[in-house]
């Protein structure tokens, strides 16, 4: 029996674990943590075997499809893209679950926590292996729901409850755009097949969608005086969904607030599940993007902008988790940029971007788990109160440094010496350079380089402030238990060495996704549809360009060392409320004020309340009028009821007479 037959178990097992843990967890030790751990471990093994199978034989794509209504289907598709994502998600999620046993040991509602994380993982897995966009959307919503539940895990805390709501509502904006894209796509496909769907054609399955790209491109509507191809419109709407889920500008505001959940949840959201969904969606529908001239440019610019925008805020944050949160937003910007440069490099962009996604998952999960380890032991996440943690927590400190090196992307170009982040981030920056060279716009490259400098600076600022030097306050602290340190060590090894051994294979493997026997599309033909010129060859960038990322990373490290360890440069002059730039950064560009207080309160809330006020008054007036009419009429008719028999007699006589006259008249007319 081929392993592909068990593929459906990958999301089903964690989903079952959710049910079991939810109902039985309270009676088991550790909140029934063993159930999701076992289920996810099994899913991991199946995913890994499928991935290895695929690696050796790229033709063995797993597909299963069942009819659902007449035009849709339910099914699974495991091609290289899905396979690596599945393996990464199950692996990281498994380690996070094991770590959670230690981290959540003092938590009373353990079984609820483990049930929800199991469901979170299950929804993400089902999102990844959907073979049609509708099923993907259903899982997409489930992921959103789970993030809501988990961010608001400590729902007794008002800040956690409001952060959960904020995450849910902000991503909802993206979700609505995604849904609108699906609706538009479905109606267009119906138009293309003239409303009669051929036998065995499932409208929203990826291969069908990609097959009709030229027809979709030919359809267009006029919006605000611009002729917009429907393909551009659909891809932009899809990208809108991705912006919401992946926390890109301007819908990133929920991600830093999501820190209100347990740190392990942050790790899960930032590394394996929620935020990667957006990148995955764009990667999955990449053939559509590459055929849409403007959409990919939007993806590239927005990604590059988000990378630098979030990095600038990471520089001034004092909360250890918030620095990491902005780092995630920034790194997701890199992934989007990686996809956006597909305009010049074709399908390889997907490979590069997904490789950064996977490697980011390793080191970002590690960063969060280390931060969690520190918080667990010390009980604070304000970096200004920490310092010298390395002395009491050597394993945590060592893994944290490994993760930071990976995040900053240290490595030596042209050799196989380097951290995972080096092998995943550098190609994106190089391709951004190529994007500039071929496309004529250097902005994404400049943004990417500055963001790399800032990344290195803020992460080593975190390291020096937290782990080096002398303790600033009197905290106890102890090394975390083995359930926590072992996952840290495993992730640390991956953060350091995964890139060196797999970079080339991985990128090539994933890029092949769109050439295999399931979704075979001709990327070059599609690119020509979008009037792109895919660079014939690359890898001959000037030496300075190749060394640039590592140079800026080193500058960032040295700056952080001088300022926060040696204290050779005194920045306290700048770090004051009087400095407008610091104030701007520290207040996060006043996005909260702009978005919530101005946009939400002033515009949305007040205009709606005004409108509803007058609407309400209007209804009130109508209802009052009706009741007045009835009341007055009753009052008038009451006078008729005198109770005097002679009046009644008169009424009867008059009535009968009237009736007679009427009958007479009617008879005459007839």
């Amino acid at each position: 029996m081929p392993i592909g037959d068990f593929a459906f178990l990958i999301p089903v097992l964690p989903a079952l674990a959710f049910v079991l843990t939810f109902f039985l967890g309270k009676k088991l030790p550790q909140g029934g943590a063993i159930i999701p751990i076992a289920a996810i471990a099994a899913s991991f093994v199946i995913s890994l075997i499928i991935t290895i199978n695929l690696l050796q034989n790229p033709e063995e794509v797993v597909t299963q499809s069942y009819q659902w209504f007449s035009a849709f289907n339910l099914g699974i598709l495991i091609d290289p893209l899905a396979a690596v994502m599945l393996t990464m998600v199950t692996f990281v999620s498994l380690l996070i679950h094991i770590y959670s046993v230690g981290y959540m040991s003092h938590e009373p509602a353990k079984s609820r926590y483990f049930a929800e994380t199991a469901l979170f993982t299950a929804s993400m897995l089902s999102l990844i292996l959907s073979d049609n966009i509708l099923q993907l959307f259903i899982s997409w919503e489930l992921v959103g729901l789970c993030s809501f539940l988990l961010i608001g895990f400590w729902y007794q805390k008002p800040s956690a409850a409001s952060a959960a709501k904020k995450a849910f509502l902000t991503t909802r904006i993206g979700d609505v755009m995604f849904l609108a894209g699906i609706v538009l796509l479905t109606t267009d496909l119906f138009k293309i097949v003239n409303g009669t769907i051929p036998e065995q054609l499932y409208m929203l399955r990826f291969d069908t969608m990609f097959h009709y790209i030229p027809e979709l491109n030919a359809m267009s509507s006029t919006i605000l005086g611009f002729e917009v191809s429907h393909l551009t419109l659909i891809t932009l709407l899809f990208f809108g969904g991705a912006v919401g889920k992946s926390g890109q500008f301007p819908l990133h505001v929920w991600l830093p607030d999501a820190m209100e959940g347990p740190t392990t949840v942050s790790a899960l959201i930032h590394a394996a599940t929620m935020v990667t969904a957006g990148v995955y969606l764009v990667a999955r529908t990449f053939p559509m993007f590459i055929a849409a001239p403007d959409s990919l440019i939007v993806v590239a610019y927005l990604g590059a902008f988000t990378a630098i925008f979030a990095a600038t805020m990471g520089v001034v944050m004092n909360d250890i988790k918030r620095v990491l949160a902005y780092s995630t937003v920034s790194q997701l910007g890199y992934m989007m940029l990686g996809l956006g440069v597909g305009a010049v490099i074709g399908a390889e962009a997907v490979g590069v971007s997904i490789f950064h996604l996977v490697s980011h998952a390793f080191f970002k999960a590690l960063l969060f788990l280390c931060a969690g380890s520190v918080i667990h032991a010390v009980g604070t996440h304000d970096m200004r109160q920490l310092g010298g943690v390395a002395k009491v927590m050597p394993i945590t400190a060592a893994t944290m440094v490994a993760a930071s090196l990976a995040l900053a992307g240290f490595g030596i170009p042209k050799t196989i010496v380097g951290t995972t982040g080096f092998f995943s981030k550098d190609p994106i920056i190089e391709f951004a350079y190529l994007f500039g060279a071929e496309g004529g716009s250097w902005l994404p490259y400049i943004f990417a380089i500055i963001a790399a400098l800032l990344t290195s600076f803020y992460i080593f600022r975190l390291i020096f402030m937290t782990f080096a030097g002398e303790p600033r306050t009197d905290y106890g602290g102890h090394e975390s238990p083995a359930t926590m340190t072992v996952p840290l060590a495993i992730l640390g090894i991956f953060a350091l060495f995964f890139g060196a051994i797999s970079a080339k294979t991985f990128t090539h493997f994933v890029s092949e996704t769109f050439h295999n026997n399931f979704v075979h599309v001709d990327i070059h033909a599609l690119a020509e549809l979008g009037n792109y010129h895919i660079a014939a060859e690359h890898g001959h960038e000037p030496l300075l360009i190749i060394w640039m990322p590592i140079i800026v990373a080193t500058i960032g490290l040295v700056l952080a060392y001088l300022i926060y360890y040696q204290r050779a440069i005194d920045v306290s002059r700048f770090v004051t409320r009087e400095n407008p730039l610091y104030k701007l950064l520290y207040n996060r560009y006043y996005q909260n004020e702009i978005l919530t207080e101005f946009f939400a309160v002033k515009i949305v809330y007040e205009s709606i309340s005004m409108a509803t006020y007058y609407l309400d008054r209007g209804f009130d007036w109508i209802v009052k009028l009706l009741s007045d009419i009835v009341f007055e009429a009753g009052e008038a008719f009451r006078q008729v009821q005198t109770g005097n028999i002679r009046h009644y007699a008169t009424a009867v006589v008059l009535g009968v007479s009237l009736l007679v006259v009427l009958v007479k008249l009617v008879m005459e007319v007839i």
Partner: protein
């Protein structure tokens, strides 16, 4: 033979007298008597038509009406008696107890 119209005219006159009394009188007994008048005017009509058509149905109907009128009068007087006991008057203008 007296033409039918005469009977109908008589009936109409009797009915109008009854109706006039019904609408103007205050005394309960008088009103009952006026109701009797109106019923009898209807009976005249029934009998007249019955004779005119050579059909007994109308006369039988008239007998029914007289029987019912007698029963109604009996009950009406009984009601008048109890009203009198209660109010020391049978002036119907005072008796608007059923109002609202």
């Amino acid at each position: 033979m007296i033409p039918l119209n005469f009977y109908l005219a008589l009936s109409a006159i009797v009915f109008s007298i009854g109706l006039y009394g019904f609408m103007t009188q205050k005394n309960g007994i008088r009103i009952l008597m006026c109701v009797e008048l109106m019923l009898n005017s209807a009976n005249i009509n029934l009998v007249a038509f019955s004779s005119y058509n050579d059909d007994m149905t109308g006369q039988v109907f008239a007998l029914f009406a007289i029987a019912l009128a007698a029963a109604e009068a009996a009950i009406g007087f009984a009601i008048m008696m109890s009203i009198y006991k209660m109010r020391d008057s049978i002036n119907l203008d005072d008796l608007n107890v059923l109002r609202w």
